[in-house]
Symmetry: C2
Subunit: 293 residues, 2 copies
């Protein structure tokens, strides 16, 4: 269902922090043109949780209206309140998008596996639509929630058609490797960074979801499709070097600053609180560090 | 503005997880009758973030319609999306409730102090109402966000009339003591547990916000107002013993199970995912452990 390099798109916004849908759809077209097979809209990189439910629906509709194909999109829909998760997921299906990336409810911490099962099962039953293809969103450094392989297998057993895959942004390779090996044959395992792409593919993953694809899509897509091993490892080095610069900064502000500078569209720098723009000095340093790669 | 023992009320719900407003308002009346000076509605204990914005507004309206005085309430309004926080805060003011307990946006982690300042300032400016009395909600074990004293002082300097206090649920006494001493004269410092009440009052706090007040309000209120020192320490021991039993379990499920058992209203046990009811064996053990106190 989902293979290759998936870009986790940023959400451009105007100075008043309203989403700039024209700029977003142009950006998504470019990401597709650069070789990304799908685009995650309103994930962590897209500041999803900084938008209210109605705003999120408006953003998705904007993309569909701009002739982005629904089948090219994966939409983030997981909220703390199950009603919101169900509403966003139903809305996605209503505009033709069947793939959603679903966070667990992320306010309460140290919750039980039974509670998380009930949360995902409740959302699936609440949506009640056979077309749904659900990707579980594992990002403990933001959600504070661990979703372990036993829970994923229980969900797969209960909803084999609906549970289509997962995105693992833990950045913890040994854990990711276990997910690839145990689940790669049953679902799309997507790693949350291109730096693990080659290793993950070898272990059974289908691809990666990448934030840095916003600024490096073509090279990452080439890395995925490169069959010549020495050439792939050379590409991997270059791709990793570029990512490592962005990782020195808060990722979203750094990506937005880079796009503002390279596209000469200063609005790219805008973002919603609690995120903050890089300082002018940080931007200068970032652009200097990027150059050599 | 806020002194004494504040109960952080649970939100009772039916088997279908819809809020039971009649049971909630009866419970709030009882908490007031037992000596709680105010009631936090839709805080962590009230499963606030498990309800959508419209549901939260409906719950608050239900209490007002049941003749709970708006001045007796403090309403939780902090969400990840600033638009939701502003909408809930404006709604509270529109029904006469001026005191709100505001979480920082809690999805992104490791955010800067500047970003958090911008989030709270943006919410205050977005509400734009002089009647607002804002209590900052410090609960890093759930929100994943640290709000340090420097940020609070910056907010107090910028919005001296609006920033009315804070609730500190960190459970970290040395840090709480610093907050009481540095801020107690400028704002209402409320500690998040009655176990720290006496110490906190001595250090400059105004009172406590307590989850266990749902099941032990009268004793905790007596602890607050007890001027005889030996008697106060005796009461503190009893109150702490009762709380320590609940702390052996997930707090919200345990409080709900206890109320279901003692009021013979089994609906008290219902809660929304990702929280899970205690098992029958756990309930039995809880009730056995509570008895001796």
């Amino acid at each position: 269902l989902t293979k290759g390099v998936v870009a986790a798109t940023l959400t451009p916004m105007r100075a008043d922090e309203s989403p700039d849908l024209a700029l977003l759809s142009d950006h998504c077209q470019k990401l597709r043109g650069d070789g990304c097979t799908s685009i995650v809209v309103l994930g962590t990189t897209g500041e999803a949780n900084s938008f209210a439910v109605a705003e999120r629906q408006h953003i998705l509709e904007g993309l569909i209206d701009a002739a982005i194909k629904p089948d090219d999109l994966i939409v983030g829909t997981g909220c703390c309140a199950q009603g919101d998760t169900v509403a966003l997921t139903r809305h996605a299906l209503s505009v033709g998008v069947s793939r959603v990336l679903m966070l667990p409810p992320f306010y309460y911490k140290k919750v039980s596996e039974a509670g998380l099962f009930r949360a995902f099962a409740g959302a699936i039953e609440g949506v009640g639509d056979d077309r749904l293809r659900l990707y579980l969103y594992l990002i403990p450094q933001m959600s504070g929630i661990e979703i372990d392989v036993g829970l994923i297998e229980r969900l797969l057993d209960a909803y084999p058609k609906t549970i289509a895959g997962l995105k693992d942004s833990s950045g913890n390779w040994p854990a990711t490797q276990v997910l690839c090996r145990r689940l790669g044959a049953r679902m799309d395992v997507l790693v949350g960074t291109e730096t693990l792409l080659l290793r993950a593919l070898e272990a059974g993953a289908s691809g990666c979801v990448s934030a840095t694809a916003n600024v490096n899509a073509a090279a990452i897509a080439e890395l995925f499709s490169q069959s010549d091993e020495p050439r792939a490892h050379e590409l991997e080095k270059r791709v990793n070097a570029k990512r490592s610069v962005f990782e020195k900064y808060p990722m979203i502000p750094a990506l937005k600053a880079y796009l503002a500078a390279t596209t000469r569209k200063p609005d790219w720098r805008n973002m919603r609180p609690p995120l903050e723009q890089l300082t002018a000095a940080e931007v200068e340093r970032l652009m200097y560090e990027i150059k050599p790669t």
